[in-house]
């Protein structure tokens, strides 16, 4: 029986500690891990908890991230609750197995501390790794601060393990800006958190020898398409369970989560759309604009996958100009979020002015001033009723201004 961890009503935790504490309270059976900056402290803290008697489970140090996710797949298929953490290159090495996990319908939880992808080598934050895994068939939850990293990690187990879902879940947080920034966090007491997450319910467990099953079989043309279609169908329909878990969490804690996060959007003319810690900084910038009488708002995704298409359409229903910010090198096109938001607007028959801003690559600071500048461009477009700036701009970049279209 694991020991109870003494927790204050308010702790000062960075995002890594917050995620590690949530994994501890979820009483994961198997954590297979290969640490990498900046997510290292998640598994480091977790292994310390285990060594100190706060966890009943196994911690397996493996020789690569590919093996870490393979270990989680094996443990999960065997009938155990499994989780791990990674970032950047480690995430990249896991990609092959991410698709195996979702295809085998194994509800593994992966806490991702977002970091740039090499080359050039860089340990700091951006969303390249998040974007790399976005089609892997996982549910993707996004946090903007350590409290949310904690809350969403707890909820991830309950969502993914639900019998109507049975899909793996990633919880994203920004490298350093969240993972290494200590802030006020209100944790649940152990017994409350553990009860919320609930007992793990094995499905088609390989260790259940009275019901022999196989996982990850070869299907070829005969069944592959049906498997992938059902997987997509269940991922799309997981919204019902996500909504229910958000509601249960609100009843328990008073903390409210929704598919789309909105700040001062009721009367907004212009809006910034971003992910991660920038969502919070943008609120500071929006308030500055509002002091000048400019009606600025902020929108973000809490759930990146399944993509909340209708909620995004609603969020922007009365907006005149939107800046969609992508924190990943777009690799020869527009940022992925710009494309997705644009598609949602087009399908809704709306045509606000939509600009794409590439920002913060490799940890480049995004200041309140940068965000205010973006709002000023949007305001100019909104007032003129036409696009006054290039469709894609790089902000916070040294040297000559870079823009396209």
């Amino acid at each position: 029986m694991a020991k109870k961890y003494e927790l204050n009503e308010v702790e000062v935790w960075d995002g890594n500690m917050a995620a590690a504490q949530a994994l501890r309270q979820a009483q994961v059976d198997v954590v297979a891990a290969y640490p990498i900056t900046p997510s290292t402290p998640i598994v480091q803290n977790y292994s310390q908890f285990l060594a100190d008697g706060y966890v009943d489970g196994d911690f397996i140090m493996v020789e690569s991230e590919h093996s870490a996710m393979s270990g989680c797949v094996a443990a999960s298929a065997a009938g155990a609750r499994a989780a791990t953490a990674t970032s950047s290159q480690g995430f990249a090495l896991m990609v092959e197995v991410l698709y195996q996990a979702s295809g085998m319908r194994l509800p593994i939880v992966l806490t991702v501390v977002n970091r740039a992808l090499a080359a050039p080598l860089n340990v700091n934050g951006d969303h390249s790794d998040m974007y790399l895994g976005r089609d892997a068939g996982w549910i993707n939850l996004c946090s903007y601060n350590p409290q949310e990293a904690y809350d969403l990690t707890l909820m991830a187990f309950k969502i993914g393990e639900d019998l109507d879902v049975r899909l793996p879940v990633m919880v994203h947080q920004d490298g350093f800006l969240c993972s290494h920034t200590a802030q006020n966090v209100r944790p649940l007491q152990d017994e409350v958190a553990t009860e919320f997450v609930g007992e793990y319910k094995p499905v088609n467990s390989m260790l259940d020898v009275s019901n022999p099953v196989t996982h990850g079989v070869q299907t070829e043309e005969d069944w592959h398409f049906e498997h992938k279609a059902r997987q997509h169908n269940d991922l799309m329909n997981s919204k019902k369970v996500i909504k229910r878990v958000f509601e249960e969490f609100k009843d328990l804690t008073g903390r409210e989560y929704d598919f789309v996060y909105k700040y001062k959007m009721d009367d907004a003319d212009i809006a910034i759309f971003a992910l991660g810690t920038t969502v919070e900084s943008a609120q500071v910038a929006a308030d500055k604009m509002r002091e000048e009488g400019i009606k600025a708002g902020v929108v973000s995704l809490r759930v990146l996958r399944p993509f909340p298409f209708e909620e995004v359409q609603d969020a922007f229903s009365n907006i005149k100009a939107v800046a969609v910010m992508d924190r990943s090198a777009p690799g020869g096109t527009f940022g992925a979020l710009f494309n997705e938001i644009s598609a949602a607007m087009l399908a809704a028959g709306k045509s606000p002015i939509i600009l794409n801003y590439i920002y913060g690559l490799g940890g480049r600071d995004t200041t309140i001033e940068h965000l205010v500048d973006i709002y000023r461009q949007l305001d100019e477009c909104a007032k003129a009723g036409e696009r006054k700036y290039p469709l894609q701009q790089f902000i916070g970049l040294r040297g000559p201004k870079l823009s396209f279209y």
Binding site: N8, V10, E11, V12, D14, V123, N124, D174, F176, L177, C178, H180, T181, A182, Q183, N184, T277, T278, E280, S281, Q283, V284, D365, T366, T367, I368, E369
Partner: protein
């Protein structure tokens, strides 16, 4: 919003100091942030750590800061680091040095005309803790200069933060905080 920038060398405890301060402040119901820039810094490399304190939740995640206080816990960094970067008109400097305030300002003229306080955190930590860990004495000096908390309250709060350490180390840190509180000029 109160903003603090620490100048330190990796290994001198600026991150621990910033987190310790955040812990103490959070217990009073305020909101805090403590963070640092690491890069791939090795032990001994110059680095900066930061605190933000406010009465409402802190949403600002920019690294850019105009500090109200600059805390320099390594004497050499007064000369080699850009300790006055992004300063405000009323930024206060608390600097670890064995020099008097006048000697320090003569040695580093860019501090002239600024609100400068000096305290020898290195000597204090060597005398009390037995190692050059200048972070807790700097917090003692900060309490005196800022008036954030009185000495007794702060020492009691820090005892809780340090509770995982042996009593001997806690006592040494309390002595270091008290000496710096009394000696900062």
């Amino acid at each position: 919003m109160l903003e603090i920038r620490w100048h330190s060398r990796a290994g001198q405890g600026a991150v621990t100091g910033a987190k310790g301060l955040a812990d103490v402040v959070a217990n009073t119901g305020k909101f805090v942030q403590a963070f640092a820039f690491y890069g791939s810094a090795k032990r001994g490399a110059a680095m900066t750590a930061y605190n933000r304190v406010d009465d409402k939740p802190i949403l600002n995640h920019e690294k850019f800061m105009r500090p109200d206080y600059v805390l320099v816990i390594d004497p050499g960094l007064t000369y080699t680091a850009d300790i006055t970067a992004n300063e405000k008109e009323d930024t206060k400097y608390i600097i670890t040095t064995h020099l008097s305030k006048e000697e320090l300002i003569n040695a580093q003229p860019k501090l002239k005309g600024k609100e400068v306080y000096v305290v020898d955190c290195m000597q204090i930590s060597l005398d009390t803790i037995g190692r050059a860990i200048p972070n807790t004495p700097m917090l003692g000096a900060l309490m005196k200069v800022s008036g954030m908390f009185d000495l007794d309250y702060f020492q009691n709060a820090m005892k809780k933060v340090l509770s995982k350490f042996p009593q001997k180390i806690i006592d040494a840190n309390m002595a270091a905080i008290e000496r710096a509180y009394n000696e900062v000029k």
